[in-house]
Structures are given as C-alpha cells and as structure tokens.
C-alpha cells in the first residue's frame, strides 16, 4: 500500500505530472492502481496534453507490479521443488507416521483437533523432540496455555538417545537448545511474532527452522470470533494465510492444535467454525478414547490421502 510519491525515487518517470493525472482519477497508492481499469486509464492518457510520458508512466507501473509478483511455475518445476525442499519429518509416533506415509510434511499446515486430554500436546512435544534430535534445525514452539513441559521433552530425548552412549546429558542439552519456546497469550502478539519470524527467515539463511508448533491456536482465536463483526474472522484468516506463507516459502512444518465444542445432536465438532476448515492443509482428529492398542487418529482432510483413514498410535 505504498503511495505513489515513494516510487518516484527509484522510477523518475512517476513524476508529479503523472501523479496529478492519477489523482484526477482517484489513484493515490499502488493498490488504487490495481483496482482501476487500466485500458480506460490509457485511453484518458492518450487524450491528455502529454500522452507519451503518461503512457510510459502507466507501463512503468505495470512493470513494477509484474516484477513484484511470484513467477508462474509449471508442473515439473513444482515437483522438483517439492522433492528437493519439502521433506517429511517423522513425528516419533509410529502409528501416525504410517498413516501419513512418512510423517508431517514441510510446507503443510497440520491441525490436530481433539477433545481435552486426547494427547495433542503430547504429540507436539514428542514431534518437537524428535525433530530437534534428527534434523539440523530449530523448532519454534508458541505456547498459549503454559503446557510446554521441559521435563517431558528431556524424557523423550533421553529415550531417543542410545543408552550406551556416555554423553547423553550433553546431547539432550544440545537438542533442547534447538527448541525455542515463546509464550503467547493473544492473537495480536501472535501475528506480530509470526511476521517477525517470517522476516527473520527471509533475511537470514543460516537460521534454519524446521518446525513451528502453536499449542493451542484455537485458544487465541476463539475469544475474538463471534459477534456480528467481521474482524474476528479476518484475524483468523490473516493468521491462517500467514502460517501458510511461512510454511511454503521457508519450507517449514507448521503444527497447530484445536479444541472441540458441542455441535449438533450433542456430538462434538472442531472449534473455530466453517471458515477455519479451509485453512489447514491436513486435519487430524484424535478420538480421545484409550484402548489396548492406543489412541485413534483419523484423517479429516488431506491433499492426497482419502479422509476417513485412521490408525492407532501410542505416545511412549
């Protein structure tokens, strides 16, 4: 949303004459330019007293828009990017890894939804410890309900390491230092931190983050949803698109958790409503019922696996 004056420094053709012409048509910023009918503008420019300069100015604006865009990729390039950059991260729970054909995928926003005490935070902690141990990269953990437990993570890590190795303590310390935990208690702080994270990832190539976990996202969004206004939903959509952009552009795996609320006929349904359903790539439902083989996890939505598939898993 940059005003046209700012562009004059780099592109001297956008001079005050051009800006006056644009202002006469109600164009003051580059977003106004996008909303306007370009061919009508060109027709007006031709009737003006300095048609060439104005037409050049319009062409310059179009090329500025083009240069700021993402390039079109064809299918082969998409496949190459997916095979090179987007690997699968194992969660540490065998049942989940088998169900998802390898584990959590980088570039995907995965949602874990389930009733209370169904194991969502446990899966998050287990995945964080597994990724910290096995991959060369950090794990960023946004904790909204003070449920992050370093003791549990240390327990997972010490189980993962070889019992015969003598340096287990040092290894555990090193892995735990790759897990960065922040406490977030409202949606605005979350948006701020996500934007900071995105800027950091874009500028610093060495600071590699493999996984971002937000436990739980619904406790931040649910208080602002509701009421007649669109602002709650807009905040949710903004957070969702920001997560998807971080996941795709920086090749990260994003895991968010969601709770359940009462729905029709007394059955539980995931919180955050209908508009949230189209935001995560993968939605996994935890049943919360314990059996001999473990807890049941079902796929609610997946890009290339059919929904309805389920598996049993055990966390430790």
């Amino acid at each position: 949303m940059a005003p046209l004056e700012d562009l004059e420094r780099d592109y001297p053709i956008i001079d005050s004459n051009f800006r006056m012409f644009c202002a006469s048509h109600g164009i003051f910023t580059d977003t106004d330019f996008l909303l306007h009918d370009l061919s009508a503008l060109e027709a007006f420019a031709r009737q003006d007293y300095a048609p060439d300069k104005l037409e050049q100015g319009i062409k310059q604006m179009i090329s500025i828009i083009e240069s700021g865009q993402r390039p079109w990729l064809n299918g082969v390039e998409l496949l190459e990017d997916s095979q090179l950059n987007k690997c699968t991260l194992s969660t540490g729970c065998e049942g989940i890894d088998i169900l998802l054909q390898g584990g959590l995928r980088e570039g995907h926003v995965t949602e874990l939804v389930g009733p209370s005490c169904s194991g969502k935070t446990q899966i998050c902690l287990k995945s964080a410890s597994h990724v910290a141990r096995n991959s060369l990269g950090k794990v960023v953990y946004f904790d909204t309900g003070n449920s992050f437990s370093p003791k549990r993570v240390a327990q997972f890590l010490s189980l993962l390491s070889d019992p015969s190795a003598t340096q287990t303590n040092k290894a555990v310390e090193r892995d735990m230092s790759s897990i960065v935990c922040h406490s977030v208690f409202d949606i605005f702080t979350l948006l701020d931190m996500l934007r900071q994270l995105m800027n950091n990832l874009r500028s610093q190539i060495s600071f590699q983050v493999r996984m971002l976990i937000i436990d739980s996202l619904s406790s931040l969004i649910a208080p602002v949803l509701g009421g007649g206004g669109a602002h709650g939903h807009a905040l949710m959509a903004t957070a969702g698109f920001l997560l998807k952009e971080i996941a795709h552009e920086s090749n990260l795996c994003v895991v968010v958790t969601n709770h359940m609320v009462a729905g029709e006929a007394g059955m539980l349904k995931p919180a955050l409503g209908e508009s949230w359903k189209s935001i995560p790539h993968v939605r996994l439902l935890l049943s919360g019922k314990y059996s001999a083989t473990g807890t049941r996890i079902t796929i609610l939505k997946h890009p290339y696996l059919a929904s309805g598939k389920s598996a049993d898993f055990v966390v430790l």
């Binding site: 109600g26 996008l34 082969v76 998409l78 997916s82 939903h233 959509a237 795709h248 006929a265 890009p303």
Partner: protein
C-alpha cells in the same frame, strides 16, 4: 475502388466456421459423475460445497483431462493437449495430488495392473508424464491484491505460452478465500471524495470480474472456480440442539432441500454461467467406509444428483440416482454386473435408485 458489395462477401461458410470453432474451442465432457453437461470456452463454472467435499480434486481431474494429449503412442487418453492455469488462492495445493492422479490415469489407460497401492514400482510413460505436467501452470496468491496483480498481468503470461492459443482452462481454487479479509479492509475515513474507489469487498470483486471478463475476450477459456459454502440458516455459536432419544436422524434426502447461502457479491453471482453443488452424505450412504458425496447442477437446474466416493486421488462414481437413468441402470447392471473388473472400485446396485 472496391465494389460496394465487397463488405458482405463471405469470409467462410457456416460449416467451415463450425469446424474451426469445434477444433479451437472443443467441448469438454468430464468422466462420470460430472458428465451431465458439456462445457466449453467462455463458460464460467462455480463448484460450491462445504469443506471437505473433493472440490480441489474435481479441478485436478478437469486439469488432467485438459493436459493429456488425445493420443500418444497408440494409446488414446481423450485429452485436449492444452495448457491450464491454476491460481491457488487457498494456498493449499500439493503437487503430489496431481502427479499421483496423472500417473494413475496414464497407468489405467495403458491397462497395466497396479501392483501396489502407491503405484511406485509401476512402469509408466515418463515422457508423456513430463510433457503433460509442463502444461500445468501454477501460481499462488496470499491476498486479494496479489490476485488482482496476477489477473492484470495474466494476458502477457498467456501470450508467452505458444502465442496464446494453447491455454484452455483457468482454474481458481476457492474464489471466496479472501472474503473475510476483504470484508475487514480499512475504509478510508479522511474523506477523499475525488472519485477514489474505496477499498472494500465490493470493489475488489468487481475488479476481479472485470479482469476475468477482459481476459476471456482476448483468450477464450473455460473458467472453473471452487467456493466453500455454508449450509442452512445462520447458526449462533451458543445454540446447542438437543435431540430426544427417540427422535430419528433427519432423512438425508431432506438435507438436499436446505438452501445454501451464497456469500459472494451479486456481481460475481451473475457472472457465473454454471453452478454445481456438492454435499457430503453421511449415515447409511458410506461406501466401503469412505465418505460419499453427492453432486447436483444448480445452474442450469437439472433435477438429478449423482453420487461419488473418493479413493485417495481418484473419484469413483457410486450410483446414479435419477429417474431418467433407471432403465439404463437396470439393463447395464444385469449385463455387466457379474463381470466387473475386480480392480475397478465402482459398484452399481441394481435396485438402489432413489427417487426425488
């Protein structure tokens, strides 16, 4: 001086015109269960459904039908060999879904048996796969302004693709993706009344429709757009519907009578020329424990609905429920009921035809 009658001299006869038009803008008929209406360039089709209901899968199947060639090394694929443009507004597209579906389609057409579910060890024509995938062009937009910028520069991009005649489809995944963000756009309160367009959902959608219309004039294409829909009346969050234990579950056929709310502004609704509605069926219509969906054409309104189920990246028609097709169904079921290829996952029941 040219004669006065030269301006009414014919350029081509009607037959030549029809042949040329059918070659350049062919009809596209999707495999069942979406085969009811043929679609061609200039149509704007909206696929409406709740989440999840296989809308993106339908777009992928349509794209595959377009990018495959008509015939390759003696095997007929029935495609159009034209490029497709996929604008991902939902930003949830995974290239594995189209690559797996394309592999499966090539293998099926060649009649090779699938030795494993994943199909990793099977031989298929990689050259055909690569040349088809090259015709699939993809971009994603994270907000409305990126979408508008993409539409404005699309004309130049299409021109680069073999002179502009090669692109046949424009697929937009989730036209309503930025609905909530646009509704909360800050309207300028400084009183800039000198014909400045206020930033709002209405102006954004108007500009989108205008740009697509302009694009269709220069490059006639078939436009397929998905949209997620909300069904029924506005539900308040605090309302909990309690059911008495003796009440039965509502009849699934009644669910088809609930109207769906269209939340896009009317300028988009009037731009759409065809509308298809998808619903999830639940309860007794589970087919092999996989979720089943029903599809119905709302515009033009056809009084029949088809059912299909999803098997990973494949759509299988389950049964066709229509008064028109009763006779067809019974005859073909008796003829082919016992000799179904066990690899095919489609099943037709002889007597299970529901009336509307």
């Amino acid at each position: 001086m040219t004669s006065a009658f030269s301006w009414i001299a014919a350029d081509e006869t009607a037959e030549q015109a029809l042949v040329r038009i059918y070659k350049k803008r062919p009809f596209l008929i999707f495999p069942p269960p979406f085969h009811r209406l043929p679609l061609r360039a200039g149509n704007v089709v909206e696929i409406v459904g709740p989440s999840p209901s296989a809308k993106t899968l339908i777009l992928i199947q349509a794209a595959i039908n377009c990018i495959l060639p008509k015939e390759w090394k003696g095997v007929s694929y029935g495609g159009l060999e034209r490029a497709v443009l996929f604008i991902d507004l939902d930003c949830r597209f995974d290239v594995s879904s189209i690559s797996r579906a394309l592999q499966r389609r090539i293998i099926d057409a060649n009649g090779l048996r699938r030795s494993s579910l994943k199909g990793n060890g099977n031989e298929y024509d990689k050259e055909l796969f690569v040349s088809s995938m090259r015709r699939f062009l993809y971009t994603r937009c994270y907000n409305s302004f990126e979408f508008l910028a993409t539409l404005k520069t699309l004309h130049h991009r299409i021109q680069q693709e073999k002179g502009g005649s090669a692109v046949y489809m424009l697929l937009i995944d989730s036209i309503g993706a930025f609905y909530w963000m646009d509704r909360a756009l800050p309207t300028s309160s400084t009183g800039n009344n000198n014909n400045r367009k206020s930033l709002s959902l209405q102006t954004v959608v108007e500009t989108v429709v205008q740009e697509i219309q302009r694009l269709l004039v220069a490059h006639p294409m078939l436009v397929l757009a998905t949209k997620s829909a909300a069904f029924g009346d506005k539900q308040s969050i605090t309302e909990v519907i309690r059911k008495r234990p003796d009440e039965k579950m509502p009849d699934p056929r009644d669910a088809q009578n609930k109207p769906h709310r269209c939340f896009m502004p009317s300028v988009w609704q009037s731009f759409v020329s065809h509308r298809m509605l998808l619903r999830a069926l639940d309860g007794e219509s589970k087919h092999q424990n996989r979720p089943t969906f029903s599809t119905e054409w709302l515009l033009p309104p056809l009084n029949c609905s088809d059912h299909f189920t999803v098997n990973d990246v494949w759509i299988c028609s389950v049964r066709i429920a229509s008064i028109f097709f009763i006779a067809n169904l019974i005859v073909s079921s008796f003829a082919a009921g016992l000799s179904l290829d066990p690899q095919m996952k489609c099943r037709r029941k002889c007597s299970a035809v529901t009336k509307r």
